[in-house]
Each structure stands twice: as structure tokens, then as C-alpha cells.
Symmetry: C2
Subunit: 193 residues, 2 copies
């Protein structure tokens, strides 16, 4: 951010009075421009003991597999966002069951929320942002071709909970370590019991 979105003048990085964080503050009108994390919301759809994955037709991670998910928009709820993204990316109409994972990804200022969901009708196909949409059983998940670590982590928790016979709502964070290739520390708050 270089310019004030309200008056067009230059912004400076400074700590406003009563604050303790550097903010973009307009040098002319004084407006403080706060920057906050974004929510990415989607679904983990189970059907016939399989899960629905989408092969990405867009960057980043073109050609790799993910769950249907995307940025939450203004004027909608997290549940509406999850259903909308599933419709857009997998042409699937779903009923939400439960918030399953909510992971903070502080290195990219995102919070990733995935809801467990069921297909209302057994129909799905690639939307414009997907190359393929397919149901996978656990044995055939393309673990080596997953687009994002947070998706792989959520799928692992899903299969673990399914084996245990009880689905939790997991809240946690994936903390990027200084490694190349990137390695994440997964922090989980614990289950709900």
C-alpha cells in the first residue's frame, strides 16, 4: 500500500496514537488503513466413503489436487461461502454437516476453514477453475500431488477421525519453518470432548 484509498495522497508506515502496530496512515487525511487476514472457506465432501477432490486449472499450483475452497466474500456467511465455492469449483450442490478444520496460516495471513459436507444429488463436474473433479477413496488420495499442505493436513485428520468413529472440530495453525522445501509445524488446540 502506497496511496490512501480514500483521498489518493501518500501513506506512511507509523504507529498511531494508542496503538502498538505499524499501520499505513494517510499523510493528508490521517486515515488509518488496517490490514487483516483473509478467510478461505471450502468443503470436505464425503460420498460413498470417498472424498471429492478438484484438480486446479489455475495458478498457483496448476494441475495439483485440492478441496473446493476460496476467498470468502463480503455480504455472505462462512456457510454460504463454502457452498458457493463448492458449486463454482466442483459444480456440486452440498449440504454442510459441521465445521471440521480451521487452520491459521500466519505466513500468508489466511485462515482456512473447511466444512464437512454431503452431496445433495450425486452430481459434480469441473467448474472453470478445475481441470477434473473426482471422488477418491483413502487408498488412492494423490498425496504427492496435493496443492496445499493445509489440505493434506485436513484430509489426514478426516481419515483419522473417521477411523475413530467421531469427527471433531479442529482448530489450529500451520507454522512455516525456515526450510526449503517448506516444512510446517502443525499446532492443534485439541478435540471438543
Amino acid at each position: 500500500m502506497k496511496f490512501c484509498s480514500d483521498c489518493g495522497d501518500k501513506v506512511n508506515l507509523e504507529v498511531p496514537q494508542g496503538d502498538n502496530v505499524l499501520r499505513h496512515v494517510c499523510s493528508a487525511c490521517g486515515m488509518i488503513h488496517y490490514q487483516n487476514p483473509n478467510m478461505v472457506v471450502g468443503t470436505l465432501v464425503e460420498h460413498d466413503h470417498k472424498v471429492l477432490l478438484c484438480k486446479r486449472a489455475i495458478e498457483p499450483r496448476y494441475g495439483l489436487w485440492t478441496l473446493p475452497a476460496g476467498f470468502m466474500e463480503n455480504d455472505e456467511t462462512t456457510m454460504q461461502a463454502a457452498q458457493r465455492e463448492t458449486r463454482e469449483e466442483a459444480c456440486a450442490d452440498v449440504e454442510l454437516v459441521q465445521l471440521f478444520t480451521m487452520f491459521s496460516l500466519p505466513h500468508i495471513n489466511q485462515v482456512y476453514m473447511l466444512y464437512r459436507a454431503n452431496l445433495k444429488t450425486p452430481e459434480f463436474s469441473p467448474g472453470p477453475e478445475s481441470l477434473e473433479v473426482e471422488l477418491f477413496d483413502e487408498a488412492n488420495i494423490p498425496w504427492e500431488d496435493m496443492a496445499f499442505p493445509v489440505i493434506a493436513e485436513s484430509l489426514k485428520l478426516f481419515f483419522r477421525d473417521r477411523d475413530a468413529g467421531h469427527f471433531n472440530t479442529w482448530t489450529g495453525a500451520m507454522i512455516k519453518q525456515d526450510n526449503n522445501p517448506p516444512v510446517f509445524n502443525v499446532e492443534l488446540l485439541g478435540d471438543n470432548d
Copy 2:
């Protein structure tokens, strides 16, 4: 938003190619400025069978009661945000137990997350944004002087779950109706069982 935060030129409202939502698009450099909901994160602290409330020392709702909560910042996790806000507003050091409620408030483009938490030490006092910080038992909750409907709703769910002997993680939305005074429809996704 009237000006591009990247180049300072004027922005127009238009639907970018491949999109279906009106966005602020720069007339000069073409940058699309997405606007997304913000997260408000806080805690519902229980101690000695009482809950910790803060009386607001700031607008909006100066002088009314709320739970310690505030906007999530970049570079932190939702859990860190919840603990930070509790430190700032109630000078209390807490251990998080569980995500308890997550309510979408689409009329103000916020998602409100409250974690159940315990005091690490039995110490608390008003931070700069609070006039008072007090423990209330259920019978003495100042229901008529609550700052925000989402806080009252979360407290009701807390006492209901405590009576039932099991705390869920509630995901829902509060949909503002066209009433004056404002009335909300509370949508809940259901419990985790």
C-alpha cells in the same frame, strides 16, 4: 474506496473478466482491490463457575458489557489473537480450551470467533479499552446492557451447553432483519455429534 492504493489513480466499480462480483478496479494500473470480511476473535473465560465480562471504555457501545475480543491482526493465529485481546482488554492471561462459537455477521462483514478459555492465574483488571472487568454468575449477567447481540447469543449457548454437560463448537450466522430496534435471525449449523 475511491483511489488505487498501489498507484494513487481513481478506481471504478466494475465486474472483472471471469468474475461475477463488482470490484474496485484501478482505471490506470488495472489492479483489482478485493474486499473481504474481517475476523473478530476473543474469549469466553470461565472461572469459579462465573464468566469474565468487560465494560467497554470505547465506542461503539461505550459503557455496555462484552467479552474480550477484537480484530485479528496479520502475522498471528486466531488463538494468538484471542489471547492477545484478552490480555489487552482484561489484563488476563488465558489458556484456550476450544473454539466455542463462530458467527458470521454478514450485515457488517465480520466473522466473530469466541474460544472457551481458563485463567492461568486468577488475575484480571481493566485494560485501556475497558472501564471494568468482572466475573458474573449466570443469574447476574447484565443481559439488558450487553454491547452486541452476538455476545449475548454466545453466552446463552454457553449456559445451555454447560447445563447439558457438553460443550459444542457452534457455527452459525446472525442475519439482521429489517426491524427497528434491530432483530436477528440466528442460524446454527448444529452440534458436532
